[in-house]
Structure formats: structure tokens, C-alpha cells
Symmetry: C2
Subunit: 291 residues, 2 copies
């Protein structure tokens, strides 16, 4: 049984309510397209012999999967887990070198879309506890849209309201996404736009930040995603496309497979330490092509 303190519980509740609202919205889009697709929810438990901070131990999550007419393959996962990192891994995690116990709660979503004009999307946001506490997130497009850059929060250089909390956030975090989601072997971007941040500390002496402020920012990012992405989907889901557009989509998806299997730290860590393979590789596209 995982014991959560007040902050952990608040973060978990938020991620789960965001999941519920996102899934309901995606199902509504399917109905508008004349489909009755709905999410299947599959709960899973994590077994861990040792406890995390404050006795946190075990936990688990719920995978939500849907195969629809607009959403060719979408998975929305929430998880809330605690335990102890291996010594080797602990050394590389913020605040875990001193004490390898951890707690993590978050939401992770990957949507591969049937219409090549709708950008595929990746969104995750999380709250971590080791000897430190922080938020991280990465809502980004997986590939360039075929027709144009995403005209809202994913357009570089213009921050949506949710990102105006701290004027340095958007320039810093959009640059971070650009640097992180890059394929060095091909010298191309994995996608375009979006933000990436990690280690947004909930208490830094003298800096005036707090759990409340950073949690509020994290919620704004989630709200922005929920506001913007469905609008984009509805804007583009009926755009006609050619065989050549589909071919380009499958090629972009190949780049995404390369990124996840060659570089993505979460994927590599999960696979090499015996994680749940299906949940880890849920991000891979239903179909991809290589020339």
C-alpha cells in the first residue's frame, strides 16, 4: 500500500482528473467523426520490495487505450509508484544519490493520428519525490505537421497564456524541447514546437518558489494541452490527404521509432531494467516505414 502525503495526493488527483477529461474529450471527437470508439482501461500493480520516502511503496497505474477513426492509436497512462532505485540508477537521478528511495506520479500520453495533417502528439507531466521534490513535463508534437507549424502553443516564439507565469519559462523550455527532441544521427528534429522541462524544484531556499506555484504552472500546462490539442484535431481531421501524404507520415513515424529506441532515456531505462514492456513501448506507432 502506497502512503501519500498531502502534496503527492494533490498531484495524483490532478493527473487522474486530467486523464479523465482528456479521455472524455478524445472520445467526443471520435463520436463527432461517426465512430463509437472508447478507451479500454487496464490497471496494473507495481511490486517493489522496499519502500520509498515516507513509507511510499508499490503502487501502480492504469493504461488507457483507444483505437479509433481519428485517433489511429492513442494511449493515456497514469501511474503513482514508490520504491527504491538501483544504486547505479540513483546516482543519475536528481536528489537520489544520497537516498535511493523515490515516489513518482504522473500522466503520459501518446497519440498517433489517422489523418497525416493532424500532428501526432506526446504529452507527459509528472511530480517526483526523492530527497527533493519537483515537477517535469514534455508536451510536444511528434512530427512536423504536413501543412504548417502548429498554430498555437507549439509555434516557437509565442507563448500561450499558461506559459506566462514566469516570462523566462517559455523561451527556456521551448529551447529545451528543441535540444532534447533531436536526432543527432540524422541531424533532424523529431518534431516541432512544444516545451520540455524537468527539475522544476518545489523548494529552493532564497528563490521564493513553492510547491503551490510550480503545481499551478503544471496544471496550466495540462489545461493548455486540453484546450489546444482537441481544437487542432477538429481543425484538421477532415483535411483530404494523398497517398504521398500518408507515405510521409509513415516516414516521420520511422524517425520517431528511431528516437525512442536509440535516445529516449525513459524507454531505454525501462527496457533494460525489466519494466512493463507493453506500457513502455506503447509510444510506438501502429505502422511506420523506412525507405
Amino acid at each position: 500500500m502506497l502512503a501519500l502525503d498531502e502534496q503527492q495526493q494533490a498531484a495524483r488527483d490532478w493527473f487522474e482528473s486530467l486523464r479523465n477529461r482528456i479521455c472524455a474529450e478524445f472520445e467526443a471527437i471520435e463520436r463527432e467523426a461517426g465512430s463509437e470508439a472508447a478507451f479500454d482501461f487496464i490497471p496494473w500493480d507495481r511490486e517493489d520490495a522496499e519502500g520509498g520516502p515516507g513509507g511510499a511503496k508499490g503502487g501502480g497505474g492504469v493504461r488507457g487505450l483507444m483505437t479509433g477513426k481519428v485517433f489511429e492509436k492513442v494511449e493515456v497512462n497514469v501511474s503513482t509508484v514508490g520504491g527504491r532505485f538501483s544504486d547505479e540508477f540513483a546516482a543519475s537521478v536528481h536528489g537520489a544519490a544520497e537516498d535511493p528511495r523515490f515516489f513518482a506520479t504522473g500522466i503520459s500520453l501518446v497519440a498517433h493520428m489517422a489523418n497525416p495533417h493532424v500532428p501526432a502528439v506526446h504529452m507527459n507531466t509528472r511530480f517526483l519525490t526523492t530527497t527533493r521534490r519537483w515537477f517535469g513535463a514534455a508536451p510536444t508534437s511528434i512530427r512536423p505537421s504536413l501543412t504548417a507549424r502548429i498554430p498555437t502553443h507549439s509555434t516557437r516564439g509565442s507563448a500561450p497564456p499558461a506559459l506566462r507565469t514566469d516570462p523566462t519559462f517559455y523561451p527556456r523550455f521551448s529551447k529545451w524541447a528543441e535540444d532534447y527532441f533531436f536526432l543527432p544521427h540524422r541531424s533532424v528534429a523529431r518534431g516541432v514546437g512544444g516545451i520540455f522541462y524537468d527539475h522544476l524544484e518545489c523548494f529552493e531556499p532564497g528563490k521564493g518558489v513553492s510547491f503551490e506555484a510550480n503545481f499551478a504552472f503544471g496544471r496550466e500546462v495540462g489545461e493548455a494541452f486540453l484546450d489546444i490539442f482537441p481544437k487542432l484535431v477538429r481543425l484538421r481531421m477532415d483535411t483530404p490527404f494523398s497517398d504521398e501524404d500518408m507515405r510521409r507520415l509513415l516516414d516521420f513515424r520511422g524517425r520517431y521509432v528511431e528516437f525512442n529506441l536509440l535516445y529516449d532515456r525513459g524507454t531505454l531505462f525501462g527496457l533494460k531494467t525489466g519494466g512493463n514492456v507493453d506500457a513502455i513501448l506503447m509510444s510506438l506507432p501502429p505502422l511506420a516505414a523506412w525507405k
Copy 2:
């Protein structure tokens, strides 16, 4: 200009003649299927500032590509290169820790087939020179056939004539393939059958081996491939298949993508050291699926 000694020249000539015969045979199969597909040959040069053993330096290769009716995507590459490994890499290469200069010549082939009942295949064989000299090879199927195990050299436990030179070779090398071509994160084999060997030394004091004997063995492996694989293709290329068979083929191909991007040493080394991306990733399937 790459200067070759007599052994290097003999090995290179053999690989190039094997390439010519394989490509001619694959094109003959396409014609039998009513297609006029033919290989495109694309030469490339390797630039290297420093020389390999005996002044070996530079070199290059030829990529051969065909998209046909039976061969959905096949690439047959030969290369003959010399140079100097980075110090870091040299430490991991047989005989290169003392002196990082190297020479390598070989043939590498990957065929993804249109009919799910024809096994996809990977075949490479190579001759390396550092302070040592050796042959290596890996002719294996990429995935299990849908209908049965491959009924000739790829059936475990029964060695074809070419592998009877040394009675220990087949058991050792088929076990090696089984161990190497394995996906730990899924606990499944990448394919079935075939052999894998490396560091087949051309001179080991007191062991009575010689360049001639091991080169003869490497030629037998190439001849066995050229004899057996086209027979298998002709046996299965017209077998009827269902959408479900095609779906399973695309899933198997997904496993192969995972193997190559997560584990294959040659792929990772090539990508992370700035090799020719197109030639390195030529092995990836034209289309792959993930559930």
C-alpha cells in the same frame, strides 16, 4: 588509395563475386514472378585521415538496392575500407588495443520479402585485419517463418554440407546465433536458425588453422546461402496469405526494428560515430507495425 595485400585482395574479390551472383539470382527470381525489377548500384567513398595496416587507407563500397515484387526491399552492400579506430573503440576490437589501424572487407545483405511465408533474411560475411586477421559471418533469418522452420541450413541441429568442415562449427555457431539474436526485453528470439561467428582466426600458433582453411569455410557459407535461400524463396513466394498473416509479418518486423536500434552493435556504433546513416539503416523494413 587503399593498398591491399594478397589475402585482403582475395577476400575482397570473393565478396564482390558473391555479390554479383546473389544479385543476378535475385533478379532472376523477380523475372520469374513477372517483374522487371533490377538492382541500382550506388558507389560511395570513405574518407579517413589516417592509414590502416600496410598503408591501407580510405576505400569505400557499393550499395545495391532493389524494390521488387518478391523482394519488397533488399539491399546488398559490399565495402572495403581501411583506417584507424578511435582509441575508445579500438579497445573493444580484437587485436586493435595495441594498434588502432584496421582493414575490413565484406558483404552485407538484408532482404524483406513481400510474402509473409518467405523468411526475411540477413547475411553478412567479412574479413578483418588489425594486428590479427579473422573472418566473421552471420547468415540468419530475421523472423520465424509463418508456416514452418526453414527446412535447410536454418533448421537447428542439422548442419548443411558447407558447415561440416569442422564438426564443432555448426553446434557452436548456431548456438551463438541463438544467443546473439535475442531480445531480452521481450524474451523472444529475433528470428530462428542460422549461424553467427566472429574472430575465426587465420593464424593461431599450434592450432593448425590457416587463412586458406578459414577463407575456404567462409566461401562455403556464402555458397550455402546462395544455394539455399533462392530455393526457399521459390518454394514459398506464391503461397497464399491472409490479412492476418500480413499483420503478423508487420509485427515481426517491429521486433526486428527494436533489435537493430536497441542492441545491434554495428548499428549503434555506426550511428553514434557519424557513419553513413542510409547505409547503416538500410536494414530497417519498408513497413513495420506495433500493436
